[in-house]
């Protein structure tokens, strides 16, 4: 049996002076799987991703394959695990987009010419080649998001963690992002495990093999996205609503026709 790519057991964490956010969270992610984590505001989705790359100390255990996430292994694991922040603006710190994308490669010891070639190739793939020499703060929110993603993808991570990836993207940018993330294993020619936290339930529906619902410091459901997103009662019990776009699809409509008042609401 293949061991999970990410194995989280009894994870405990709380910010100083605040109630514990996770109290004994368990989660497995299989190699090559795309897992969507959904949950209401403040349930700890972004924090969970930060814990997965060791940005905060936590209780319990996190393993990548058989390697535990401990201080001696941090540097090696961070080469394999890429995190794209929710706020891309703070993730871009080099003077130009090209240099920012090449930053991680140069730190990995690649020669400048090689790093530049790979960075330019990644920018081309992500549709930002014309902005290579622009300073990051001059980009729009969507462009900054794609530039941040390019900076992480260019390092060819085994595990990609994305915090609200579709935030600030226009519909076309969002569709391109979904296509890119879906096509990632083929582009990189190997399986890429993706963990995506999002309020964009359509994105989770379109992109993920499995959706996990996070609430009260625990994973309360972990099932295929269509099963989770159809369960309006479960979503409502945990502060979420089924996406309207999915409600419009025939399979999602409730069995009994809605009354007049419901129709007006929809």
């Amino acid at each position: 049996m293949i061991p999970p790519r990410i194995l989280i057991r009894r994870l405990r964490f709380g910010y100083p002076g605040q109630p514990e956010l996770f109290h004994g969270l368990d989660l497995d992610v299989q190699p090559g799987e795309a897992l969507g984590i959904i949950g209401s505001n403040g349930c700890g989705k972004s924090t969970l991703l930060c814990l997965l790359v060791g940005l905060h100390d936590s209780g319990g255990s996190i393993h990548f394959d058989d390697t535990p996430l401990t201080p001696p292994n941090l540097a090696a694991l961070r080469r394999r695990v890429g995190l794209v922040f929710q706020d891309s603006e703070t993730q871009l710190f080099m003077p130009t987009v090209l240099e920012d994308v090449a930053f991680g490669l140069l730190n990995q010891g690649l020669a400048p010419a090689q790093a530049e070639a790979r960075a330019r190739d990644m920018l081309r793939q992500i549709g930002l080649e014309s902005l290579a020499d622009r300073p990051p703060h001059q980009l729009s929110g969507g462009e900054q998001r794609r530039a941040a993603l390019a900076g992480v993808l260019v390092m060819q991570p085994d595990v990609l963690l994305l915090d609200e990836p579709s935030l600030n993207l226009d519909p076309r940018g969002r569709r391109q992002l979904i296509e890119l993330l879906d096509d990632l294993p083929r582009r990189l020619n190997r399986p890429v495990t993706r963990v995506i936290t999002s309020h964009d339930l359509d994105l989770v529906w379109d992109l993920c093999d499995r959706a996990a619902l996070l609430d009260g410091g625990q994973i309360v459901a972990s099932v295929p996205p269509d099963q989770l997103l159809r369960d309006a009662d479960l979503l409502a019990a945990h502060g979420l609503e089924p996406p309207l776009s999915l409600l419009a699809r025939p399979r999602i409509l409730p069995a009994s026709p809605p009354d007049q008042e419901d129709r007006q609401c929809i």
Binding site: V53, L55, R78, N107, Q108
Partner: protein, 258 residues
């Protein structure tokens, strides 16, 4: 980003914009030599140097009015620094090229004023025709300490972030102020906003640190390479050397004439 942005016109793209930033930096360093090292009696030799950046900026398509505004903005500060000297040192002195009698204080006054105008002019020409990333990269390739380049680069990037955060806060306040007292007269509100601003920038700096750490930053900052200097770049460096020697030549001629 061009450090000095002339908003009234599109960003020009002249031969000067295309000169290698290393060559332009070396030219400014050359010009700094006479400003710092020229003997006081030869101060007027700096006068022709002030014309160079003005000519170059106008020829390279930068709008003259914007140049003049940017050039004259620091003048009051320079005058404040220089204005004390005529009172502090009334001893007689000789200034090459000056028709009458002068005191040593007045010589110092003219020296400070002219040096500042020349240096500001050349720096203005440099930053108006070179992007900030290119300047930082040139600094690194000319052998400036990596820590200095790194700090300058991050400060520049962080400054943009701070400015945006500050502008957002001000806009948010203005949109809900509805004719309230101006910010400068409402100390309590100003203090609250400043606290918010500092808290946000602290969170931002933490995020930047996380982003650096996650991409393998270990204190070094390797950068992408640059091409070799071209003929035009060497010509600019040679021009810089010639310009640097000009004040000495001018003062020698003035002394010779006297």
């Amino acid at each position: 980003m061009h450090l000095l942005h002339f908003p009234s016109s599109p960003l020009p793209d002249s031969w000067l914009h295309r000169v290698d930033p290393r060559a332009k930096l070396l030219l400014v360093l050359c010009v700094a030599c006479p400003c710092l090292l020229l003997p006081y009696r030869a101060t007027l030799g700096l006068l022709p140097l002030a014309a160079f950046p003005l000519l170059v900026l106008v020829r390279s398509g930068c709008p003259p009015r914007a140049i003049a505004r940017a050039w004259l903005t620091p003048v009051p500060f320079v005058l404040f620094l220089a204005a004390w000297h005529p009172w502090l040192d009334p001893s007689p002195a000789w200034l090459a090229g000056w028709p009458g009698e002068l005191t040593a204080g007045w010589v110092r006054f003219w020296r400070i004023l002219l040096s500042a105008l020349v240096l500001i002019g050349f720096l203005l020409a440099l930053v108006a025709t070179t992007s900030a990333p290119a300047l930082l990269s040139a600094l690194a390739r000319l052998g400036a300490p990596r820590w200095l380049v790194l700090i300058l680069g991050f400060n520049l990037r962080y400054l943009a972030l701070l400015l945006r955060r500050g502008a957002d806060l001000r806009a948010a306040r203005a949109l809900r102020a509805a004719g309230g007292a101006p910010l400068s007269r409402n100390l309590r509100l100003s203090a609250g906003m400043l606290t918010q601003f500092l808290a946000r920038t602290l969170a931002d700096s933490e995020q930047v640190e996380h982003a650096l750490t996650l991409r393998g930053f270990d204190g070094r900052c390797p950068t992408l390479g640059a091409g070799p200097l071209r003929r035009l770049d060497f010509a600019v460096i040679a021009a810089g050397l010639a310009i640097a020697l000009l004040p000495w030549a001018a003062s020698w001629l003035a002394g010779f004439a006297r």
